[in-house]
Amino acid sequence: MKKALLIALAVAAGIVGKASAQEKISITPALVAAAEKEGEVTVQYSNPLDAMQAEVHDFTKAYPKIRVNLERKAGSTGVQSLLQELAAGVNRIDVFQGTDTGGNQALIDQNAFAAVAPANASELDKSARAMAPYLYYPDKNVSVVMYNPKFVSDEQAAKLRSWKGILDPAFKGKISLVEPSFGVTLAPLLYVVNTPGLGEGFLKQLKAQKPVIYLNTAQARDALISGQQPISWGAQWESVTLSYVNQGAPVHFVYTDPTVEWGGNGWGVLAKAPHPNAARLFFAWGMSNAGGLSLQGPKINMRSELTTLADTRSTIKKLSGQPWFRQPKNIWSPDLQDWIKNGPKYQQLWTKVMKQ
C-alpha cells in the first residue's frame, strides 16, 4: 500500500514536472524576428500534397521571409524514418505532422519532441490535446462512407448510415476496403472491434460481401469514381471527400451513426529542431485562428479543433441544400490509449478475417 502510494506520488510529481516544463509558445515580434533570421523551416508531413501546399501558402503569406521546406513522408514510413534519424543523431526536421497514432506515441517515447503549449491551448478541443504537451491535433478527422451515385442511389446509400447497413445484399461486390494501417483506416476499425454486436462477427459478414481490398485510399477513390467499386467503406474521410465534391466528381457520402471522429494530424516541434524559432512560429501559427481558417479553406476542408472558430467551410455550406446530405448526429471518438496499445492487435484480427 505504502509502495503504491509512493509510486502514485512519483507519477503525479512527474506529471506536474512535465506540465511545469512546458514551454508556452505565442507569436511575439521577438519570435517572428528570430524565425526570420533562421529563414527556413523543414516540415515532415502526412497530409495530401495539395492541402499542405495550400497551408504553406497561407503561412508564407503571413511570414514571407520564412521558406517552408516540405517533406512528405506519410504514416508509419515517416515515423520510422524520423526514429532512425533520431537514433543516429541526425537533426534535420523542425516540425512533424503525423496521422499514425501508434507511430506518434513511439516518437514521444523516444523524446523526439519539445514539451510545448500553444498560447491558445485552452481553446483547442480536448481531443486535440490527447498527446499534449508533445503533439497537438489542430484538425479533426471525420470518417465517411463514400459512394458513386451513378451506381448506388441516394436512397440505397441511406442504409449506409447504419454500421450494419453495409451488409445489405444489394451492396455485395460493390464495396472496397483499405488495409487498416493508419488513422483514417484504423479509427473505424476501433469502433467495430469495441462495439458490442459488431466485432469479429461483423468483419466476417463484411468479408462475405466480397469486398476488394486496396492498399491505399486513393486507389479506392479511383475505383469508386470509375465505377469499379462504387462504395468505399471505412477508408475515407470528410476533407478529402469534400475536395472531390468540389471538383464535380461523381461522389456522394454519408456519415455513419455514430460518426467516428478523431484528431487528424499530430503537430510536434522537434526537441532538437535545427531552426527552433521558425519551428515554434510555424507550430504556433498552425494552432492559431489563422491556422484554423487555413485548415478550413477550400483546398483543405478540414474541421478545426478550435472551439472558438465557427465552421467556415464553403463546401459544407453548399452541400447543406442537397437532399442526400445530412450532418453527423452522434459522435464516437476512439480511446487513444486503446489505439496505441491494441491497434496492432486489431490490425492482425482484421488481416486474419479479411485475408485468410
Binding site: 517533406e71 488495409e179 485510399t217 490490425q347
Partner: protein, 608 residues
Amino acid sequence: MKETLPGRLPRAILLVLVFVLAGLPVLFVLLGSVRQGIKGGFTSLHLQKVFLSAAYLHPLLSTIELAVLVGLGGCLLGTVMAWLMSRHRPPGGRLLEVGIMSPVFISPFIGAIGWITLGQPNTGMLNVILARFGLPQINIVSYAGTVFIMAIFFAPYAYTLLRHSMDRLNPEMEEAAAICGANRVRAVFAIVIPLLWPSLLSAVIIIFVLSAEMFSIPGLLLVPHGYDNLSYAIYDKTTHWPIDQAEASAIGLILLLLTAIGMTIYAYSVRVQERFITIGPKSPRAPASGALTGASIASLVLILCYILFSCILPVAAIALRAMLPFFTGSFSLSDLTLANIQNTLSDDLALTSLWNSLIVTAVATVLLLAIAFFVALGRVRRPGPIATLTWIIASIPIAIPDVLIGLGLIGLYIRTPIYATLYIIILVMLARFLPVLVRLFETGLIQIGREIEEAAAICGATEARITLAIRLPLLAGTIRSAITIAGTQVFNELTASALLFTSASSVLPVVIFNYMFDGDYARAAALALVQIVILFAGLLVMGMVAFLAGIGSRRRRASSTPAKMDEPASIGRATASFRHSGPVLARASDEMNVNPEEMRYGARGKPI
C-alpha cells in the same frame, strides 16, 4: 605468366569500389535481418520465422509462379521481336527499335495505371469500345492481365539481350543446315537456340528476378483481390505500424536465394564461353534492311501490334487522364483540359524534382556504364578470383527489393554527410542497376572473339588501346542499349528514392507517386507524361547522334572500300571504328604472317 601486383591493382580497386557501392548496402540488409529494432541486439528469430516456419511458403510459391510466367512470357515476346527485327529487317528499323524498347521508358507503376484505365471491367476505355461492337470484354485486373502487363513491360530486356546476339548470328549456319535437309524448326532448335542460349537464359533469369521482386504492378492489380507474394510481405512489414524492418530483410533473403540459384544456373550454362562466340575475324552476313518482302511486311505488322499494346495505348490512356480531372469511364471532348499540364509546368516542386532527376540520371548513367563495363570485362576476359568476386558482388543487388536496398543505404550513410543529399540517390541507383548493366556488357563481350584482341596485343597495343579501338566500337550497340536502359531505369526509379528523398533531393517519380497517393491522378498523369516525353526526347537525341555517326562511318567506308556493306548499323559502326586501327592490324598481320586485307575482310571478303 604470373600476374604482378601492379597488374592486379586496378582489379582490386574495382573490387573495393563495387563492394562499397553494391556489397555494403546488401550487407546492411543481411545484418538488418538479425537485428532487433533500431537500437536492439542480435536475434535469429526473424530468420527462423522466415526460413524454418511455413509462414512465407505460400507467398514464395506465388512469387515463383508469377515470376516464371512473366520470365517466360517476357522472354518469348522479346525473342520474337528480336528475331523479326534481326532476320526480316522490316522497313523503319530504327524507329521500330525505339518502339520495341518503349515500355522501359514508362515506369511500371504508371504503365499499370494506363492499363487499368484501358482494361478495367465495364468502364475501361477498350472495354467501352469492345462493348459498343458487341465484342467480349477484357479484364486487365486479373492474374492473366497482370502477367500480360508485366511481360510486355519486361520484354525489352529480353529484346536488348537477344537482338545483338541475333545480329551476330551467322545465317550461313542455318543455310548449311537447310542444305543438309533440316527444316526451319529443326534449324532453330539445333542451331539458333543453342547459340543464343546464354542470352536467352540471361533474359529469362533477369526477367524472373525483376518480376519476383516487383511490387508496383502486382500491388495495384493482384493484391487488392487477395493475392499474396513476397514483395507484398516486404511492403507490409515496411509500411504498416509497428514496422518490422528485420523481418522485411529476412524475407528479402528469400529473394536473394532465388536469384543466387538463377545465377548459378546461368553461370553453369555459360561456363564454356567460346561455344557462343559469334563475332570473330569473319563477320556474319546480314540480310538487307528495309526491303519490302512478304516476311518483312508481316514482321512490321506484328511489331506494330506489340508497340500499340506495350506503349501507344497505355501512354494514350495516361495522356487522357492528364487532361481529365477524374476518370469516370466516359467523357466528351469538352471535358478535356490542359490545365493539369500547365499547372505541372509551373509547379516549383515538380520543376525542382525534374532538375534533380536529370542530374541523378546523367551522373548515375555515366558511372554505371563505366563500372559495369570493367566488371564485365574482368569477368569475361580476365576470369580469376578477384574478377569473379567483383562480378558476384555487383550481381547481388538485383535480388534485393528496392525498398530493402534503400533501407540498407539509410543504415549505411545516415551518419555521413551523404545522407539526405542527391548523392545518396545516385548511390542507390548505382547499387540497384549495376547488375543489369553488368549482365548486358557481359553478354556483349562474350560474343566478341578473343582473336581480334589477341592480334592487337601481339602488335603491342595496350589494354587501354584495345578497349578504345576494338572493344568499345564492337560494343557500340550494347553501349547504346546500356545508356537507354540505365537512363530510363534511373529516371523512373521510385521505391528506393521514396525512402531516401528529402525536401532538397526530391526526384520526379516521388512527386508523381505523392500525387497518385493523394488520389490526384490527373496531376500525377500530367507529370508522368512530362517524364515520358523527356525520355523519348533523350532517346531521339541519342538516335540522331548514332545516325549521324553511322553516316560518317558509311562515308569513310565508301572512300576506303568498294564492297557493299549492309551489316547492321551497330556492327557497321563498330567495324568502321575498328578499321581505324589500321596500323595495329598491319603489325598483327606481319606477326601472324597473314595478308592484312584478308584479316580485315575475312576469308570470303566480308567486312568485319
